[in-house]
């Protein structure tokens, strides 16, 4: 159980796919103009990642090494098709907003990267933890970025037609936050923040270890 939690937590901070590993950026920057779009995108990626990791980990003894990449892609593509058709049927407005990004989950580096790097070599329950953790880490960053961009850019946050937060009419947001350059710039500062945070965690860990060894020797 401790191992499970350790694997799950890694995706959230230390190995966060977006701010640390820098994979799966395209979708993040493109759909983060709206809070609701980002939320559903995060959920879609989490679903596909967890399900494909589970299937690949369960079948890892039957998948020949040489054709593993095509097999991974077929598994991933099936789950993406499920998401694609489900969203098209039940939340058409969000589906239209996300557009080409739903089919593009197939080639999202996060999913193939975790299939190749983790799920193919680990047992099923660990692969589930990894999928959930990585998916949650992805969803957290994308939703945070979208919240900042939508709030700063338009002064309100809308979720499925109802306004959640709204500044008054006096607010004239900088429109650049909603445009493409804003995504790059805000994300750049988020990456710098994550780097700073990880650096602090690292130095605190080193200090704690130094203290422990000093106490042990004393």
């Amino acid at each position: 159980m401790r191992e499970w939690i350790a694997v799950f937590r890694r995706g959230l901070a230390v190995d966060n796919p977006l701010t640390v590993l820098m994979i799966g950026l395209c979708a993040t920057l493109a759909v983060s103009t709206k809070f609701e779009g980002a939320l559903f995108m995060g959920m879609a990626v989490m679903f596909v990642l967890t399900m494909s990791s589970t299937i690949i980990a369960a079948l890892r003894d039957f998948i020949p090494e040489k054709v593993r990449i095509p097999v991974f892609i077929v598994v991933i593509a099936s789950f993406v098709t499920i998401v694609d058709l489900t969203m098209h049927a039940f939340i058409p407005t969000v589906y239209t907003f996300l557009g080409v990004w739903i089919p593009l989950i197939v080639v999202n580096c996060i999913i193939l990267g975790r299939a190749e790097g983790f799920a193919y070599h680990n047992r099923v329950h660990l692969a589930v933890a990894d999928g959930l953790g990585m998916g949650l880490g992805f969803a957290f960053v994308i939703v945070l970025l979208a919240t900042i961009r939508e709030f700063v850019g338009s002064g309100e946050i809308v979720f499925l037609g109802s306004t959640l937060v709204r500044l008054g009419d006096w607010y004239r947001g900088p429109g650049i936050a909603l445009l493409f350059p804003g995504a790059f710039i805000i994300f750049g500062f988020m990456v710098a923040g994550a780097k700073w945070l990880n650096g602090r965690l690292e130095s605190r860990r080193i200090q704690a270890e130094a203290c422990a060894t000093r106490e042990a020797s004393a």
């Binding site: 080409v100 197939v106 650049i176 750049g188 500062f189």
Partner: protein
């Protein structure tokens, strides 16, 4: 003349106004991954131009000859296209290794990477599948239009990648705070570069 102008508009619209990297965020992984030096950027741009054109041609034929007549396009296009592209890249790699070792050495390492590059799948889907194409042009592309559009997209990709690589080479030596070094700074530079491309939108009414 009329047709020439039309194709020119498609080309410029795809390459500059709707630049795939900087105004639409497709294919950003190689944009940050291989833009460390000019040589790799140029190699990658060449490989993308080559593979993208082939892939769109193949998927166009596949869609119009096989998927549409069978009536399975709507739910089978994702697995079908990605498999066509993956198989195509494998064949091209094998053929190139035998036929032109020089070109293989130049592009070789980038070819497998391109299979999972979203830019290739996105362009192939856009050029083929009606409704995915976001510019104000006819939704259903003919064969020649699809190829021209793809070449335009690939040229825009290469142009943006090479510009960005040149900028990053200079930024390596810039004095900057420790936390901003490397990728954070690269993102902000990309934002400023993208600002220039946003200025182009609406220029040709595309």
């Amino acid at each position: 003349m009329e047709t020439l102008q039309y194709f020119g508009l498609i080309l410029v619209g795809a390459a500059l106004v709707n630049n795939i990297l900087l105004t639409r965020f497709i294919g950003l992984c190689p944009f940050f991954g291989v833009s460390g030096s000019m040589d790799t950027a140029i190699g990658m741009a060449g490989a993308v131009l080559f593979v993208m054109t082939l892939a769109s041609t193949a998927t166009w034929v596949f869609w119009n000859v096989l998927l549409v007549p069978l009536g399975v396009g709507e739910f089978l296009y994702i697995p079908a296209f990605i498999l066509v592209i993956a198989a195509l890249v494998q064949f091209v790699e094998m053929y190139m290794r035998k036929a032109s070792p020089g070109l293989y050495r130049a592009l070789g390492i980038y070819l497998p990477l391109i299979t999972t590059n979203c830019a290739v799948l996105a362009t192939a889907t856009e050029a083929v599948k009606p409704g995915f194409f976001k510019m104000n042009l006819p939704y259903q592309f003919g064969f020649l239009e699809a190829v021209i559009y793809t070449i335009g997209v690939a040229l825009g990709f290469g142009f943006a990648l090479i510009t960005f690589a040149a900028l990053r080479e200079r930024l390596e030596v810039a004095p900057a705070p420790e936390v901003m070094r490397g990728l954070p700074m690269a993102f902000i530079t990309a934002g400023l570069l993208s600002l220039g491309y946003v200025g182009l939108s609406g220029l040709f009414g595309i």
